[in-house]
Amino acid sequence: MNQPFRLPEGGLIDRDKPVTFRFDGKSYGGFAGDTLASALLANGVHHVARSFKYHRPRGILGAGPEDPAALVQLEPNTARTEPNLRATEIELYEGLNAGAQNCWPSLGFDIGAINDVFSRFFPAGFYYKTFMGGPGWMFFERFIRASAGLGVAPGEIDPDHYEHTNRHCDVLIIGAGPAGLAAARAAASTGARVILAEQTAHPGGQLLDEAAGQTTIDGMSARDWVKAVREEIEAAPEAMVLTRTNGFGYYNDNWFALCQQLQDHLPLAERDANKPRQRLWHVRARHIILATGAIERPLVFAGNDRPGVMLAGAVRHYLHRHAVLPGRRAAILANNNSAWQTAFDLKTAGAEMAAILDTRPDAPQVLRDRAEALGIPVKTGAAVTGTLGRRRIKAARTGDIEGDRIAIGSAEMIGCDLLAVSGGWSPNVALFSQSRGQLRYDDDIAGFRPARSWQEEATVGAANGTFDLAACLAEGAAAGANAARVAGFDDASQSVPRVSAPHAIDYDITPAWRLPMERKTDRAFVDMHNDVTSKDLDLAVREGYRSVEHAKRYTTLGMGTDQGKTSSVNGFGILSEILDTPIPEIGVTTYRPPFKPVTFGAVAGQHVGANFHPRRTTPMHEAHVEVGATFEIVGDWLRARVYPRAGEDFDAALQRECKAARTQLGMLDASTLGKIDIRGKNAREFLNRIYSNAWLKLPPGRCRYGLMLNEDGMVFDDGVTACLSDDHFHMTTTTGGAAGVLNWLEDYAQTEWPDLEVYLTSVTEQWAVASLCGPNSTALMAELLDDLDPDPESFPFMSWRPAHIAGIPVRVFRISFTGELSYEINIPARYGRWLWDRCMALGEKHGITPYGTEGMHLLRAEAGFVIVGQDTDGTVTPIDLGMDWAVKKTADFVGARSLTRPDTARTDRRQFVGLLSEDPTIVLPEGSQIIATPHETEPRTPMIGYVTSSYMSPNFSRSIALGLVEGGHTRMGEPVYVANKNGTPHRASISPVNFLKELGGAS
């Protein structure tokens, strides 16, 4: 296909593999090895986006992750669509479809561009100032969000999958440019475990962005040297090279996060659904070498954001990597030597060079000579004061710099379709700063560079402000050898690559943070990602935002997905000029991970769907599934909630189950209860200090209910503990509290009372538990048990016995959470399912009915038993619960002293009571507020409590509720009102909590 700006030869593209792709609805041709940006440029397309705020046409400025504005929507209107991707980083694949974003109806004609016409009404801080008043931000936000913003988030579930991997290594090197390659080769030569990560598809960095043959290393062309070194590294036994891998986060103790793209470069049809799309690496490295290169800065001048204005280094990138001529008639604007190379390369590649404009008063003679030899006009002390062209630059207006203005009468128009700019190179210190290393400002390079490392790290090459190739290679090799030595590997190869680059150009910069402008209305963009102009920075300082962090937030300079890669340092320089303060004292904003955007998919990895939070299931779980139980999540567990029969709804099933449990026989899977085995000669004393009630006299064979408090006196867990022998106890905890209770017990055992000999072991999963409840339970137990008479007369309440069922040893507890005659059978977990089935089979004639957690909650509420965490919230004492009987006066225990603090001793605290609605058919909604009067009073009716549990009781044929009410214990029978959002408050009366006694006449 016609690619008018493709050079006839050269580049790292495969001309045998033409690729067809679509952008903004049009079809184009490119080659394998292209990026979307290089392929668009080959077709002469510069205008690829509309800007964030003013909807200005934006082109391709850079060649990598630094590009602030060439953002596209990849694969629009599909499940795989991804917004805000940089065209400069998307590897071209057959059939690729990219859409322009932030424009309507089209990229070429965008209604939102009206914002640009009225831009003087939208300065920095416009939103803050305008929308905080009146109806407020909450009202305006949705309109603003609709008109601003960039791409569109995918609306469907991501069809791809992702994975995480963890790795330890000795030396991790980020960036495979010349310095990184030299470092990796030296480190790998020692046998150390080395990982070299490169964000693009090809190692080589700047060496690939120059004309073939320009540089010779160790007698090879630069490209051959890169290839040879890569092979050498990969041949080392413990080294690997990761390409397409973005090292984005440098965390504590050399913990590093990288995102590897595995399939993004493949045509959609060729992607393997069985393999991950991306892989997130967590690498812990003994030593890290940052070889992250430098990022070129644009210059800040009027009209500097017009499509066709490109970074000079990016122009070389497209010329040499992709054999694309970004323009046929080019001009250069620079404040340093490096951009001159672009002029020479463009000319050599066949472009017409309109001018080299250098802002410095003078330029080195050697460069002038080369320009002259190539016939390129040169103007020093020159600025660009404006650009023309609607969707691509047509001409640049220049003038002579005279102090902070343009010399009158010096203006000149230069026709060009490409303006290559260079404001200098900023060492890419983002990752170094993430590591919390300290920067310094270096006047020689006009940039920030690493000064002191905080972690086990070294920064080398251009990232360290070293721009000379030979020096980069030497620095890399030395750092690689040193890193290996730190990790315990000596004998690094000492060879330092020999460089021959006779025409290399040194850097030599004189900063020009912003160029003079001719007219007050001119705008020069500092941040092309967020549409921040130099005048916005003036405004921010005028309004008092003098700190660099404040100016950033006020203007949005350096914010957004590009994180100011091209704009930050220019912004710091301009602030320095406005404030007349040296740049080191201006400082820098904070560099935070990620260095560049990472997909949510990669961050989530495998932890999606059923793997998001794996659930624990009981040994009886399948039995519940088979009969169609519905489940609820309790702690990490899945528990059966109710067992609806065919045609039965939730409520009907619940009522049936609870009726059966009191009148016939119910069975609950109680396996999830926390179980802790406590041994040791001081186990009893330990329990006595931990629980609020007395434990010293509990004999073997007996059980006791206990409450645990925090030191603040508030209930945090409860459960029944059985004495197995004098030095051996079996504790149960709530399902959700099991892990926390064990940690808490161990804390006291190890740190407060190390003199007590006590051993704690979680045995939750060792036992399956079936809880049998109801008048027929004794009959079923008699059939089940080999060697124990379950008669409640001889096997009384709150005792336990060892026994056997079909020869299997079990522990049977006569404890009850329903107030009904109950037995809890603990059987080794592997017999859990068998026991459940056996109980179901033998219990059929007794009317056995499985009930779930909802039934358990209802049955215990009928008996007035508290559920810690439902009826309590961490502000409830045992006294508040009416459980004074569980508080011993004879000895200290955890939290005891707090119960006599003035606040906990108040008699008007919220206390645990029963609530009976006047209308027995009304189930008071849980969480409802309780108020003292049925009428709202001024200013507001005080809330005196709230409903914690509420059910329709099948056994009393009326609703019951539990709640916390101020002074409730002394208000028995008094009316209260329960707020009702749909009408007048419900009237209810306060009652004791034990409804079995209150309503059922139980003793």
Partner: protein
């Protein structure tokens, strides 16, 4: 993610540990003998140190032992670990850069991110600056 050195197991990932708050706060032997104020001091009040802080850690996904550590809260750097019941080892106080108590480097505080010109002059005379360590 930090590396924490368990005194019993050696260096392990932070995700294996649970934090236990300030160290060296012994539970009173006879709580009932304390005034309400004294008891509240034990239950509720903890220091909030910027700088070297003695704190408790539990190797909860490892050996499950509790131990003490000295950590600089402004930089997250562990300076020492020691057993329960032991006295904290002597640590040289770091040289502070900011009035609020951050050391020269490692806190991420604005004042410490970039060397001042005076510091650069001083450092150029006394140390080998650069990204290398």
């Amino acid at each position: 993610m930090l590396i924490i050195t368990c005194p019993y197991c050696g260096p392990r990932e932070q995700s294996e540990f649970h934090y236990g708050g300030e160290a060296h706060i012994a539970r009173p032997a006879d709580p009932q003998a304390l005034t309400d104020g004294q008891w509240a001091e034990f239950v509720f009040m903890r220091s909030n140190v910027k700088g070297v802080f003695a704190e408790r850690w539990n190797h909860s996904s490892g050996c499950r032992k509790w131990f003490n550590a000295l950590r600089d809260t402004s930089t997250d750097r562990f300076l020492a670990v020691y057993e329960m019941g032991a006295k904290p080892p002597q640590i040289d106080a770091p040289e502070l850069r900011t009035p609020a108590g951050e050391p020269l480097i490692g806190s991420g505080n604005d004042e410490t991110k970039v060397m001042t010109e005076a510091e650069m002059t001083e450092a150029e005379m006394t140390e080998d600056l650069g990204g290398g360590s």
